[in-house]
Symmetry: D2
Subunit: 187 residues, 4 copies
């Protein structure tokens, strides 16, 4: 995994998603190298870089041009990117133009989550899967209800991780904000 | 409970301990109004103010003069303090001079936890109890081992609480750092 | 607080709500002794017994006759109950017949949460408050949205607590299931 | 990742370590395919099977013969095992006989953690790393103190994960017990 601090940061762009969450999303997505992946809301490039190393093709989508710029810089910094297409567009528009997908990761949806899942679901091949990371209570429910309506197999985990910070007097545990990972798999 | 934001703050002094933790410590201490309490490491006054309202007498002890000053200001702000004695001294020294105690809360120990528990234990009446809040891994173990050596009944809970923060798009959960509450009761 | 194991249990009735959660709900409710309280979905009596000791009057409501029976047994076991009225009825019906309330705790709603909050809200005096404990994702959102519609001040905390279990080799932390506490206060 | 329920279980053997923890340990270990790995305390085979698929060689060590038996059955069930050597012995003994190692995972130590780490450290090549999963408070500290003494780079995360369980009325979150992951890397 690429440690959080190895990403170039830009204050106008959220991310990278914390290393442990990127790790858990990767385990759920379980790429074996041949997949086509869409990273919806690529932000700083946390998921894009990890999937660039583990899948065949990655579409990195973000409506914020700063996010596209910073994701490109991070790809270059880590010698990645020849299998990545950066799309500065709204997720629903971008997803309509892309071909078939095996994995869709949704790290941001700007209140359009259920629309984005539906548009994305139409592009999924075979047992394609969609994985949503959510810090908002409301998006968790929206993801679950949308997967239910689509007849997907789905699941959710709430993740609370604290990292040890060594002080002179001892080890202080600092909490990462809780994040939910919701996944849906086409039957 | 006094909300966190109703405490006057001073950057040189940690605290107040978060409301939820003060609440859980109060439930463990279970004061009925007649007790004598020592708040070791009173910091900003989080525990001192809550016990001033619920116990007979409170000794607020801190080696940092700024902590004593800010705790006094917070007592005055909330119309409390006539049953509180502020002691600007090291915990072990201060505890030696105080009479019998029913409840000792230890919010800070500066690496001297097991000594402080032992000195304090000698002052406990009947089923007196000591409650430690700890953000360091090492102090958790030190508290448990010290209570074991003293033959106290003891227990520990790890507390991870996230608070909902209303955003325009939804409710974001923000984590408080994990804290452990360790209590020991004289048999 | 009454420890969990001091409650008489009946397999057909959930509860008692864990001690730490009862404690946090009490701190939010903040009874000073003069209040009239409704415990909606009293189950095994976890909240009813704590409020019986701290408020003026308690209505303990449950549609399950077993819950009413076990709550009565627990009241008697702890020498409580003369200020408690047990109502074996559906929450909405029971709340309609009760007079003014200061505090409503909702520990169970059987999918009728927003209706129950609305009926209860009509009975609230002055700065009355409603506190919901929820183990279901969906009820958390329902509570927040209902408090928003009623123009209440509201808040939510997610609580993850693990209790230390002493083994011969060391202290094993056992997790309680995560619970959310959502409160709404009439402006 | 192999789901928990795809492992053959034996009541006399703990494990498998939950999927999410196996995932996080894999991310920390970061095998690229060429490593020699030791799974100390292989139990039901949770780590052995995952590393069998991702590393060059795996030594699965457990002092409990039932653990060796059940790990072998799980390897066979998943068509794995030709690069795995099963050793029914005490960890310190087994580690002395093995050649160089890149990764050591310690899922069980029976109170011998710091000895096991020291014996294992002597077998580590270059930037070898040791990863400990611990459910006991005391082993967390022991791991950190031992890595400090050995001059390793080290870190710790506390992991609290709850899994959504779909009920007819909604999604109930069920907590996994908190586990710590402590890693040390030879400088
Ligand atoms: N409807 C939408 N279409 C495209 N991008 C969107 C969107 N809604 C939100 N976003 C983008 O989603 C991103 C969320 S931040 C994601 C961080 C990323 N996972 C990382 O590891 O770096 C933001 O950059 C935001 O611009
Ligand atoms: N050995 C010792 N004797 C006295 N005070 C000590 C001490 N070790 C640490 N402290 C004090 O312990 C405090 C910890 S901060 C405690 C915050 C407090 N519970 C609140 O709610 O505001 C610090 O102010 C520190 O000065
Ligand atoms: N609409 C409704 N009206 C009345 N009771 C209800 C209800 N929906 C659920 N309940 C009751 O809510 C209870 C939830 S269990 C609550 C446990 C309780 N807090 C304790 O500490 O013991 C159940 O007994 C269930 O019968
Ligand atoms: N000193 C020691 N030497 C060898 N095995 C040990 C040991 N101390 C504990 N163990 C073994 O460590 C195991 C811990 S259970 C580990 C579960 C495993 N990670 C899984 O995923 O299945 C037990 O089977 C126990 O027998």
């Amino acid at each position: 995994m690429i440690p959080d601090e190895d990403f170039i940061k830009d204050d106008r762009v959220p991310g990278p998603t914390k290393e442990e969450i990127r790790c858990l999303v990767l385990c759920k997505a379980d790429p074996n190298g041949g997949e086509t992946v869409a990273d919806v809301g690529c932000g700083t490039g946390g998921f894009t870089l990890e999937f660039a190393k583990r899948a065949n093709r990655v579409y990195a989508i973000d409506k914020n041009p700063q996010a596209i710029k910073i994701t490109r810089e991070n790809l270059i910094k880590h010698g990645l990117g020849e299998n990545v297409e950066l799309i500065n567009d709204d997720a629903e528009e971008a997803l309509k133009e892309i071909g078939d997908l095996d994995i869709i990761v949704i790290g941001g949806s700007g209140g359009r989550l259920s629309k984005i899942i539906k548009v994305g679901a139409r592009k999924l091949k075979g047992h394609g899967r969609i994985i949503v990371t959510s810090i908002l209570l409301e998006t968790k429910i929206e993801a679950i209800q949308t997967f239910k309506k689509l007849g997907f197999e789905y699941g959710i985990i709430d993740v609370n991780i604290a990292r040890g910070h060594p002080l002179e007097r001892g080890t202080m545990m600092l909490a990462n904000n809780p994040i939910s990972i919701i996944w849906g798999r086409q039957r």
